[in-house]
């Protein structure tokens, strides 16, 4: 009854899904955050999107799933199912270079490995002091930059 099957390209769907903006991080997409694990499109135009949560108790999971479904339906998917995977587990090394840059503009530093100590996203100095392992959400720690005297959030790195 519909002709979406011939036109629904997996890369197009992946692009649309990856462009969904994280509901808590103005402007940063779930693609750039590295949350999109896999996208499958079957012959009937049914889409299955596998996503990785930054942490299991994340309160934004339901909203993100709704936004992803909408994005897939908007480009012609007949149905869309979002699956939150627990493996592999998400870590900050999945964040793209553009994602790191956009997070920096929000004042969020990214520690790509457990031992790395990122520069301050506001002033660029290597003067971040860890204050608290969790901040406004459990996927972010709180740090203080002695350089520009700003309160900074840090994603990734050592977790509580």
């Amino acid at each position: 009854m519909n002709d979406t099957t011939s036109t629904l390209d997996r890369d197009v769907v992946t692009g649309a899904v990856s462009a969904v903006v994280d509901p808590e991080l103005g402007g940063v997409t779930i693609g750039d955050l590295g949350l999109v694990h896999d996208v499958r499109v079957d012959q009937d135009g049914v889409v299955i999107v596998e996503l990785l949560p930054t942490f299991l108790g994340c309160p934004a999971l339901a909203l993100m799933a709704v936004d992803v479904e909408r994005a897939a339906l908007a480009i012609g998917a007949r149905e869309c199912t979002v699956v939150w995977r627990v493996e592999p587990s998400w870590d900050a090394s999945r964040i793209t270079a553009r994602g790191v840059e956009q997070l920096a503009s929000l004042g969020i530093a990214v520690a790509t490995t457990a031992r790395s100590s990122p520069a301050c996203p506001s002033c660029g100095k290597q003067m971040l002091q860890s204050i608290n392992p969790v901040g406004a959400t459990a996927c972010r720690a709180v740090a203080w930059c002695g350089g520009c005297r700003s309160a900074i959030d840090v994603m990734g790195g050592r977790r509580a």
Binding site: E24, G26, G57, L106, Q129, S130, V134, R149, S150, A151
Partner: protein, 308 residues
């Protein structure tokens, strides 16, 4: 470190879009104003968190409980960031600010001086009060002259937008529900509307220092008007009655509120609103009951030197 020869030179700096940083020799009056503003914001985030925590165990369903748990963490996290930035201004330490707050010596937003009796009351808070807060924070963020505050506001505003989506979803559940659910929300709206209108504060005085130094970029009336233009039609669309007999459209078709009685706001500003004492007592218990955690973590000993 930058210095200014006079308040007039500082005015010119601010007027040309200058951003003040903590190391600058800012006029003492600026330091006081920006400190008080951030302290009030921090206090209100903390009280918001305490108010939402109450609903974690009472919210209907796991999904809502998770949302309230996350919002509580968000508000406390925001308060934490704000207290750090406020303390860095050197007027009070964080423990001093908390001690003043839990003993009722400082102020917090008017809406936290009332008791949320029903689930619908909490939805009014989660949707309309969060929307009002977001309206004011967006206006501060747009032009705020104090660098560290502006930087954390970007994150706070993103997260408050997320809270509003939760609030709207909860409101829609009631709006699309049974007559009883709709009546529950209308009743809550009837009791809370005035305090939501008051949230923006009384008319800004012409010589207001917060406006002069771009700590905030819009007057209280402008902010209230932005809110009214957006949310009055929305409430009408959902089929609710805005409880203001003087509400009307002006000649340009814009919504205008009837005369505002400010007496209830005055009481909240003196911490003698209907539920002020209970809220302050609750915050003091929360602070005192967690003393053992701070002691066992020896937070002070671990805090890196120089960080507020």
């Amino acid at each position: 470190m930058r210095t200014w020869a006079s308040e007039e030179a500082f005015d010119a700096f601010i007027g040309s879009g200058g951003i003040v940083e903590p190391g600058d020799a800012m006029p003492e009056r600026y330091r006081t104003e920006v400190f008080r503003f951030i302290e009030m914001h921090a206090n209100s985030e903390l009280f918001g968190g305490l108010c939402e925590r109450y609903w974690v165990s009472r919210a209907p369903g796991l999904h809502r409980k998770l949302a309230f748990l996350a919002k509580t963490q968000d508000e406390i996290g925001h308060a934490h960031l704000l207290y750090m930035v406020a303390a860095d201004l050197g007027m009070k330490t964080r423990p001093e600010m908390l001690d003043d707050l839990v003993h009722g010596r400082t102020r917090f937003h008017n809406v936290f001086h009332y008791k949320a009796e029903t689930w619908a009351d909490q939805i009014v808070i989660a949707f309309l009060v969060d929307a009002a807060a977001l309206t004011t924070q967006q206006a501060v963020l747009k032009e705020c002259s104090y660098g560290p505050y502006r930087r954390i506001l970007r994150r706070i505003v993103s997260e408050e937008g997320f809270h509003m989506r939760h609030g709207e979803e909860m409101l829609l559940t009631l709006a699309e529900g049974t007559d009883l659910q709709r009546a529950l929300f209308q009743d809550a709206l009837d009791r809370w509307w005035e305090s939501v209108v008051h949230f923006f504060g009384p008319p800004t005085k012409p010589d207001d220092l917060l406006i002069r130094w771009k700590i905030k970029s819009a007057t209280n009336e402008e902010l209230r008007d932005r809110f009214v233009q957006k949310f009055v039609p929305m409430l009408h669309d959902y089929g609710f009655v805005v409880p203001d007999p003087g509400l009307h459209r002006d000649r340009d078709g814009r919504w205008a509120l009837g005369p505002i009685d400010w007496s209830a706001l005055g009481a909240t500003q003196r911490n003698v609103g209907p539920d002020s004492q209970a809220r302050i007592d609750q915050s003091r218990s929360a602070w005192e009951d967690t003393e053992w955690v701070r002691t066992s973590l020896a937070v002070d000993a671990l805090a890196p030197s120089g960080a507020p």
